[in-house]
């Protein structure tokens, strides 16, 4: 007698569960957990990381992120409006800017602006935070410009028409009517952008920075050098997770709510 389709699917599901349990068991038995913990999660080294990893490195990562986000949002809004402008040179300038900074890896931009230009010209960054945050903001603004432009374009055309028919100028209508609605639409993608920025700040660790302005990644790397143990980087990774997971969950919640509202 032939097995029915649903029966077959049921057997397949059971087989997958069994295989997963076997694989998990094998891992637990084969791996030398004591040695692994000694090399990557040594408790006294974990404890040693605190509180500096939060009060200094974590704080610096947040400062870089917030500066990068604020700068990226302001310039991103500017470039989005330029891309939507009726003035052609504005459109060209914004489009070129966006292409350039989305096309060059952030690491290279960081090295050019943070290292290359100071070495070539003798000019020095007035502040180590700006050295990392300005290149970050320039790249972020290119990405955010496209997000913001999409948000503005998602506001129905009738909104601009209604505002203009009341005698508002184009810029007044943009500021009072269109942009507030566009920002509401793009809160989820902008939050994602913020999460990406948190992680991207780790690239700033390639720049030579003082002990007081080290970000999380640099803090972890220096910790590995001084302890000859991977634990500091693992702890740094966990601190990143503590910052990013709540935000991605927040975005997921906002998107679920949006989906429910539009049903």
């Amino acid at each position: 007698m032939a097995i029915s389709k649903r029966k077959k699917a049921q057997y397949r599901r059971i087989a997958v569960y069994v295989l997963s349990v076997v694989a998990l068991l094998a891992m637990v038995l084969v791996v030398d957990w004591g040695r692994l913990q000694g090399a990557m999660f040594k408790w006294d080294i974990v404890v040693e990381q605190f509180p500096d990893i939060l009060l200094s490195a974590g704080k610096n990562t947040l400062i870089f992120t917030i500066l990068g986000f604020a700068g990226g949002l302001s310039f991103g809004l500017l470039f989005a409006l330029m891309r939507l402008s009726t003035v052609r040179p504005y459109r060209w300038f914004a489009a070129t800017y966006i292409e350039i900074f989305r096309g060059i890896p952030l690491l290279v931009t960081l090295l050019i602006l943070g290292f290359g230009i100071p070495i070539a010209t003798g000019w020095r960054w007035p502040n180590p935070y700006l050295q990392g945050a300005v290149p970050l903001a320039l790249v972020a603004s290119a990405y955010m410009a496209e997000t913001i432009r999409a948000g503005i374009e998602a506001v129905p055309k009738g909104q601009m028409e209604a505002a203009r028919s009341l005698g508002m100028s184009y810029s007044r209508a943009m500021i009072t009517i269109i942009i507030p609605q566009a920002l509401r639409i793009i809160v989820p993608p902008l939050t994602n952008e913020f999460v990406l920025l948190i992680k991207d700040t780790s690239l700033i660790s390639v720049l030579g920075v003082t002990a007081g302005t080290r970000d999380l990644a640099r803090f972890g790397r220096d910790g590995v050098n001084s302890t000859a143990n991977a634990t500091p980087l693992i702890v740094a990774g966990l601190v990143y997770l503590a910052m990013t997971v709540p935000l991605t969950q927040l975005v997921a919640w906002m998107e679920r709510r949006e989906k429910a509202a539009s049903r």
């Binding site: 129905p156 009738g158 909104q159 028409e161 209604a162 505002a163 203009r164 028919s165 009341l166 005698g167 508002m168 100028s169 007044r172 009072t176 009517i177 507030p180 609605q181 509401r184």
Partner: protein, 247 residues
């Protein structure tokens, strides 16, 4: 020029690419007059209305509103629009603002009224369109008919010399049409100058001083409703009316 002419349209032409939508429209609206524009869809009546406040830029011809030639490059279009109210088919209320804020925002930003004065006027106008205790409701919390009445109050708040109605009841459920038409009728009785694109023949017949029938981008026939609707001369007008009245 006669100072009682609020809107004076001369030889208006509008093309979208190869599509010649308006083919030489001449139309005058006197102060206090209610003019209904009727006609089949695609006849150009909405485009004509949108040319009156330059939401569409005419290809040729002139649109003079209150003595200002809006097609003149030196015309301050924002200033001119502040005197021309418009009510849209889709209401186009600002969804992030309450009913009161919708009626206040242009008073504040364009007319530079104080917050208190604007709120007082808005509150009065919302009551006038039959919306008491809805000041703090957001558009999403209002029915279509209520939203459209907020939109009318928003237009009235600017003390316009003329209001353009672009199929103001076409997006409404049938049972909500009456409340909006009632507000429009009371405005007409108070002497508001109105240019109304509509499919509501009953409204045109009962309220309009003049009915304009458009087809194919031209004005085919115009006159008092007793003539255009009850005893049309042109064959095209008759054909249109029989198609909308006998179904």
């Amino acid at each position: 020029m006669n100072s009682d002419v609020v809107v004076n349209i001369t030889n208006l032409n509008k093309s979208f690419g190869d599509n010649h939508v308006l083919r030489g429209i001449d139309l005058q609206v006197q102060r206090g007059e209610v003019v209904c524009i009727i006609g089949p869809s695609g006849s150009g009546k909405s485009t004509l209305l949108r040319c009156v406040n330059m939401l569409e830029t005419p290809t040729a011809g002139t649109v003079v509103v209150l003595g200002r030639d809006l097609t003149d490059i030196d015309c301050d279009i924002d200033e001119a629009r502040a005197h021309i109210g418009m009510v849209f088919q889709q209401f186009n209320l600002f969804p992030h603002m309450t009913a009161l804020e919708n009626v206040c925002v242009a008073q504040r930003k364009v007319l530079k009224r104080s917050a208190d004065e604007a709120a007082k006027i808005a509150h009065g106008l919302l009551a006038r369109v039959g919306l008491v205790e809805k000041d703090n409701a957001y558009p999403a919390q209002l029915s279509g008919g209520q939203q459209q009445r907020v939109a009318i109050a928003r237009a009235l708040a600017m003390n316009p010399d003329v209001i353009l109605f672009d199929e103001a009841t076409s997006a409404l459920d049938p049972e909500l049409v009456g409340e909006v038409l009632q507000v429009m009728q009371s405005l007409a009785q108070e002497g508001m100058t109105m240019l109304v694109v509509t499919h509501e023949m009953g409204f045109a017949k009962g309220v309009a001083d003049r009915v304009v029938f458009m087809d194919g981008g031209v004005i085919v026939e115009q006159g008092p409703p007793s003539q255009v609707i009850s005893a049309p001369v042109e064959e095209r007008t008759r054909a249109f009316l029989s198609s909308v009245l006998n179904h």
